[in-house]
Amino acid sequence: MTLPVTIIMIEDDEGHARLIERNIRRSGVNNEILSFTNGTSAMKHLFGPDGTGLAQKGNALLILLDLNLPDMSGIDILKQIKENKYLKASPVVVLTTTDDSQEIKRCYELGCNVYITKPVNYENFANAIRQLGLFFSVIQVPPAAT
C-alpha cells in the first residue's frame, strides 16, 4: 500500500461526525479523515469539478456514508459512487440511524460493503465504530484508478 487511505466521511450531523471520528481515533486509526456535512460538497470532492471522478484517480478512499442527508439521499450517492469507474472499487460503509430491513437490503444491492445502524446506546455505538476502525486497519483498499 503505497498511498495512505483517506477516509471520506459524509455525515450531516456534526455531533455524530465528531463521535465517529473520536472513536475511530481511539481504535488507533490515524488516517486522514475528510468530513463533509452535505451531499453536494462531498460529491464535488469525490467526482471533481467535471463530475467524472477523474480527480480521485489513483487515490485510495474509504467512504463513510450517512443515508439521511439534508440535500440529497445517501442512496443516490451510493449509487453514483458504485456506477463510477474510478470510485466503484472504494469500500463504502453506510452508517446511519435507519434500521429498516428494506433499506439495508437496498444498500447492499447497490454495492455497499458494510451497513451499520447507529445505536443510541453509546457503548454499542463506540464498539461498532472501534470495530470498524479495526476493520479499516486490516482491509486492503485499492487505489481508485482502474
Binding site: 450531523d13 455531533g15 473520536r22 446506546n121 453509546y122
Partner: protein, 505 residues
C-alpha cells in the same frame, strides 16, 4: 318524489278506479231501467195502435152489418143476410176486445159504455129490421131504416168511436213522445256514461304513466346515487388510505429524525461521564498531595468528602439523563416498529387455529408455570389470515393474561371461539386482576397502561394488537371489572377477502 306524494297519487288512482266502477254501474242500471221503460212505452204505443185498429174494425163491421141489412132489404137476397149476420157476429167480440183493451183508461171506458149502449140499440134496430124483412113487411123495415138513419144512434156511434180514436191518437202521440224520450235518454245516458268512463280511463292512464315515469326517474336517480355513492366511498377510502400512509410516513420520519439527536445526546453524555471521571480523578490527585510535592498516581487517591459529594451528584445527573435517553429510545423504537408493522404486507393462509394457539401457549409455558396459571383451549374455528399478525395478537393477549394475574391466586386462562355471520369470534378470558371500566379505552392507547405498575412494559402491546386486528379487517373489545378478571374479544373474518386491508398497500 316524496312518500306523501306517492301516497296521494295512489289514493287518487284508487279513487278514480272506484269512480269509474260507480259510473259503469250507474250506466248499466240506468240503461237497463231506461230500456225497460222504452219497451214499456213501445208496448203502450202498440197497445194504442191496437185499440185504434180494433175501433176501426168495429166501425167497419158496423158498416158491413148496415150495408148487409140494406142489401137484404132491397133484394131479400140470402147472401146479404148471411153477410149481415156474419158482420153482426163480429161486432160483439170486437166490442169486448176494445172494452178489455181500454179498461185502464177511465175516459175511454166512459166512451165505450156509451158506444156499447149505442151499438146495442143499433143491433136491436138491425134485428128488428131483419125480422121485418123476413116477414115481408118491407115498408116497416124501410121506415125503420129511415128512422134509424134519422135517429142519433148512428151519429152517437160514429161520434163516440171518433172520440175514442182521437183519444187513442192523443195517447199515441203522447206515448210516442214518451218512448222517444226514453230512447233518447237511454242513448244519451249510455253516451255520457261511456264518455265519462273513457275520460276516467284516460285520466287513469295519464296517472299511471306519470307514476311509471316518476318511478323510472326515481330508479335512474337511485342508480346514479348508487354509482355516486360507490365513487364517493372509493374516494373517501383513497383519502383515508392516503392520510393513513402519510401518518405512517410521518411517524417513520419523525422517529428517525428524533433518533439522530438522541445519538448525540447519548454519545456526548457518555463522553462527559468519562470526562467527569477524569476530572474527579485529577481533583483527587491535586488535593491529596502536599503543595509543591510531586503529583501522585491519580487513580489511587481517595476524594475528600465535598468532592465525593460533587462526584456523586455529577454521576446522578448523568444517570438520569442516560436513563431518560434510554426510555426515549425505547419509545421511538416502539413507534418505528408499529409503523413497520403497519407497512408489512399480509400473507393470508389457512390456519388450524387450535394447533396454532397450542404452539403459542407452549412457547409461553415457562411464564405460565411461574405464575401458576393453567391455560385451557376450547374448540376454536379455523380461519384464513396472516399467521404472523395472528401470532402477535394472540401471544400478546395470552402473555398479558399471564402477566396480570392476581398475586397469590392460581391463574385460569381460557381461550374460546365461535363463529357468527362469516366472522370468527375469539375470547381470551382470565381470572386476573381485571381492568377498571374507566381504563377500557386507555389501555388500547399507545404508551398508556392501567392499574398497578408492578410489571415491566411500555404500553405498546394492546395498541399494537388492536392496530393489527383492524388491519386484518376485524374488531376487538374488552369486558372487565377490577379484581374480576378480563375478557378480550377479537372478531376476525373467517375468510380472507379482497376488502381486507391487505389491498391497501
Amino acid at each position: 318524489m316524496t312518500a306523501e306524494g306517492q301516497r296521494r297519487r295512489a289514493f287518487w288512482q284508487i279513487l278514480l278506479f272506484a269512480a269509474g266502477l260507480v259510473v259503469l254501474t250507474a250506466i248499466s242500471a240506468g240503461s237497463v231501467y231506461l230500456v225497460n221503460k222504452a219497451r214499456g212505452d213501445n208496448k203502450w204505443v202498440v197497445h194504442t195502435l191496437e185499440v185504434e185498429n180494433q175501433l176501426n174494425a168495429l166501425l167497419l163491421e158496423l158498416r158491413r152489418a148496415e150495408s148487409g141489412a140494406r142489401g137484404y132489404l132491397l133484394t131479400q137476397g140470402e147472401n146479404f143476410k148471411a153477410d149481415h149476420e156474419k158482420a153482426v157476429a163480429e161486432i160483439v167480440p170486437a166490442l169486448d176486445r176494445i172494452t178489455r183493451l181500454t179498461g185502464d183508461n177511465p175516459a175511454q171506458r166512459e166512451s165505450i159504455e156509451k158506444l156499447s149502449a149505442a151499438i146495442e140499440t143499433r143491433l136491436g134496430q138491425f134485428a128488428q129490421e131483419m125480422e121485418f124483412v123476413r116477414q115481408g113487411q118491407l115498408d116497416k123495415a124501410a121506415a125503420l131504416v129511415r128512422e134509424a138513419a134519422a135517429a142519433n144512434t148512428t151519429s152517437t156511434i160514429s161520434r163516440e168511436a171518433n172520440a175514442m180514436i182521437r183519444e187513442e191518437e192523443r195517447l199515441f202521440r203522447l206515448r210516442s213522445v214518451n218512448a222517444d224520450n226514453s230512447q233518447t235518454l237511454a242513448a244519451s245516458l249510455t253516451g255520457i256514461g261511456s264518455g265519462l268512463v273513457v275520460v276516467l280511463a284516460l285520466v287513469s292512464i295519464w296517472l299511471v304513466r306519470r307514476s311509471a315515469r316518476s318511478r323510472d326517474e326515481a330508479e335512474a336517480r337511485l342508480r346514479d346515487s348508487n354509482v355516486n355513492l360507490e365513487a364517493t366511498v372509493d374516494e373517501r377510502t383513497a383519502d383515508l388510505r392516503e392520510a393513513n400512509d402519510e401518518i405512517q410516513r410521518f411517524a417513520y420520519i419523525v422517529s428517525h429524525d428524533l433518533r439522530s439527536p438522541l445519538v448525540n445526546i447519548m454519545g456526548f453524555t457518555s463522553e462527559l461521564e468519562e470526562l467527569g471521571k477524569d476530572i474527579f480523578r485529577r481533583i483527587g490527585g491535586l488535593t491529596g498531595v502536599p503543595a509543591g510535592g510531586p503529583p501522585l498516581d491519580v487513580a489511587e487517591v481517595p476524594l475528600e468528602d465535598a468532592d465525593k459529594q460533587m462526584s456523586a451528584d455529577f454521576s446522578e445527573a448523568l444517570g438520569f439523563i442516560k436513563s431518560s435517553i434510554a426510555r426515549m429510545d425505547r419509545l421511538i423504537s416502539a413507534i418505528l416498529n408499529l409503523t413497520r408493522e403497519g407497512r408489512r404486507e399480509f400473507q393470508p393462509e389457512r390456519i388450524d387455529t387450535r394447533d396454532f394457539i397450542e404452539a403459542i401457549v407452549s412457547s409461553l409455558a415457562h411464564q405460565a408455570a411461574e405464575a401458576q396459571a393453567e391455560i385451557h383451549i376450547e374448540p376454536l374455528p379455523n380461519i384464513v389470515s396472516d399467521r404472523l399478525a395472528l401470532e402477535q395478537i394472540f401471544s400478546n393477549l395470552i402473555d398479558n393474561a399471564i402477566k396480570y394475574l392476581k398475586n397469590g391466586v392460581p391463574g385460569e386462562i381460557r381461550i374460546r371461539g365461535r363463529t357468527k355471520l362469516g366472522y370468527a369470534i375469539f375470547e381470551i378470558s382470565d381470572n386476573g386482576r381485571g381492568i377498571d371500566p374507566r381504563d377500557h379505552q386507555r389501555i388500547f392507547d399507545l404508551f398508556r397502561r392501567a392499574g398497578t405498575q408492578d410489571k415491566p412494559g411500555q404500553g405498546i402491546g394492546l395498541a399494537h394488537v388492536r392496530a393489527l386486528v383492524r388491519r386484518l379487517g376485524g374488531t376487538m373489545s374488552v369486558s372487565s371489572e377490577l379484581n374480576a378478571g378480563s375478557t378480550f374479544t377479537i372478531t376476525l373474518p373467517i375468510n380472507w377477502n379482497a376488502s381486507n386491508r391487505n389491498a391497501d398497500r
